[in-house]
């Protein structure tokens, strides 16, 4: 295991932020720390990096107990949400910083920094200052700077949080490819479930300061540990007292076995998908169908339809 966190507790003053958090991160993996705002993701990441000291519990990095080590000695790469670029240094000097601290020979530094800048596609901007870069470029510079010291683990706090949707998507794919190239154990924080599912090979759901579930994206999506995780990982709707994914519902004009009647209240066409909003058993729900399906059924407001979970659909019974 590259990172082993055991029973970590952390409070700020009297506010508990992490509660008995244990976490294993396999060497070479790309793990997403997913959870709602204020869930303690950043705090956990900072505990791993040594920027925050846990009240109790231990952190081991590559098998070495790092709980009492200062960040300076942990050899982790940390990328801050707002980049923390060294404003008075050029892109080149930013990336070279860790190597200069380690007193590496000048030409070795030059070679390594240029390699890294090529890796993050910033080789042409080496002499610029951070204020002359776009957000995405700054983010990549911060990543190159963290990678320069060949860290044992790379920790990214909402790496794409401050970027617009388009750049975000690009960088996501790019991060995935970069990881396949560099293979450094990576943990990144996000509150965007789509990002976690798309990029990570392991997802750890953290909420209210506790690890709620950990597993591969498929596992977490298909077998959510509780309604919270199910809601957090994707769209859900409620039919017959169960939580179901809206695309896992069969809709038909005629009564079916195990189905419940519902009245269509609105049909919303969102490009390829069509969202059918219904009233069922006195409350509202919605079903996601394809355009083709919607056309075939010819649904309109006021129609009565029959709904049931598709065979093999995952659903969670809600405790009333």
């Amino acid at each position: 295991m590259a990172i082993e966190v055991r029973d970590v507790n952390k409070s700020f003053g009297t506010t508990p932020v992490l509660h008995d958090v244990s976490l294993d991160v396999a060497a070479g993996s790309l793990t997403a720390l997913l959870g709602p705002s204020g869930g303690g993701k950043s705090t956990l990441l900072r505990v791993i990096a040594g920027l925050e000291r846990p009240d109790t519990g231990t952190v081991r990095i590559s098998g070495v107990d790092a709980t009492r080590l200062s960040p300076q000695r942990r050899n982790v790469g940390f990328v801050f949400q707002h980049y923390a670029a060294f404003k008075h240094l050029t892109v080149f000097r930013n990336v070279a910083f860790g190597l200069e601290i380690r007193k590496r020979p000048k030409d070795e530094i030059r070679k390594r920094v240029m390699e890294l800048l090529e890796l993050v596609h910033l080789e042409k901007l080496a002499d610029r200052y951070p204020s002359q870069l776009s957000g995405g470029q700054r983010q990549r510079m911060a990543l190159a700077r963290a990678l320069a010291v060949e860290p044992q683990v790379l920790l990214l706090d909402e790496p794409f949080g401050a970027l617009d949707a388009q750049v975000r998507k690009e960088l996501r794919t790019w991060l995935r490819r970069l990881h396949d190239e560099v293979h450094v154990t990576t943990v990144f924080v996000t509150h965007d479930q789509e990002e976690a599912i798309e990029v990570a090979d392991t997802i750890v759901v953290l909420a209210g300061g506790e690890v709620v579930q950990a597993g591969s994206p498929g596992e977490v999506y298909d077998n959510p540990a509780n309604p919270f995780v199910m809601r957090f990982l994707g769209p859900v709707t409620e039919i017959g007292g169960s939580l179901v994914r809206p695309h896992d519902i069969e809709i038909s004009p005629d009564p079916v076995e195990g189905g419940s009647p519902a009245v269509v209240s609105r049909v919303v066409r969102l490009g390829f998908e069509v969202r059918v909003e219904v009233e069922i058993g006195g409350h509202e729900a919605w079903v996601q169908v394809t355009r083709e399906q919607a056309d075939r059924l010819g649904l309109g407001p006021g129609d009565t339809v029959h709904l049931r979970p598709a065979p093999g659909a995952r659903s969670l019974v809600l405790a009333l």
Partner: protein, 265 residues
Amino acid sequence: MAKHVLRVVAVVYVLFLLVLPVALIVWRTFGDGLAPFAEALTSPSALHAFTVTLTVAGWAVLANTVFGVGAALLLVRHEFPGKRLLGAFIDLPMAVSPVVVGLALILVYGRFSPLGGLLESWGIQVIFSTPGMVLATVFVSLPLVVRAVVPVLEELGDEQEQAAHTLGASRLQSFVRITLPGIRWALGYGVVLCLARSLGEYGAVAVVSGRLVDQTQTLTLFVEERFQNFDQPAAFAAATALALIAVVTLLFTKLLRPKDRSDGN
């Protein structure tokens, strides 16, 4: 209309309070050409006063730079009991008259106080000598560096320093390589202000120095003493020199100010 009245008021105000006095001093100084000016400033007493002023101001600026940066770091980056009290104390010299400061220093370090007696028995004379004058000057110019650095340090935040730590930098390394460059303009501004204040200090230094001609006489004391002794050329020459130094330091602060801003974004 109101605009014009305001403008006239402002101009008259500045004219009578600033322009006229300074212009008169300059006119009196150079009224008989440059030679008397040079002569008055190169008299042994004047030169000695220059040296004393520079020595005292130099030490005071050094002390307040080190203390100022330290105190600013403490106030911005750390939580500790008594923090607000420290902040209030740092502003105290703004409110207390320098004469009071001088008297207080005599009470603490004077020959007849326990602390002063002890220091004297070790051969260190504080009052009526350079250490006391440095102390007095340090006190009156204490807030300038701290107050210049604190807001910039706050705006800088500590993420860059944390990033430096994760990249392997020690506290000292991250201070020298990250924090110091981040606050350099503000620090320069504070140091220049502190220098200007130290060079011009009169009240506190007058009390603790004992005004010993050719021994503890600073340039401001020299001006006053020459004026009292009807040596107006020397008094005006030294006053003009002080004013010129002030103008130069002011220009420096003007140079430092705009960069400060462009550096912040």
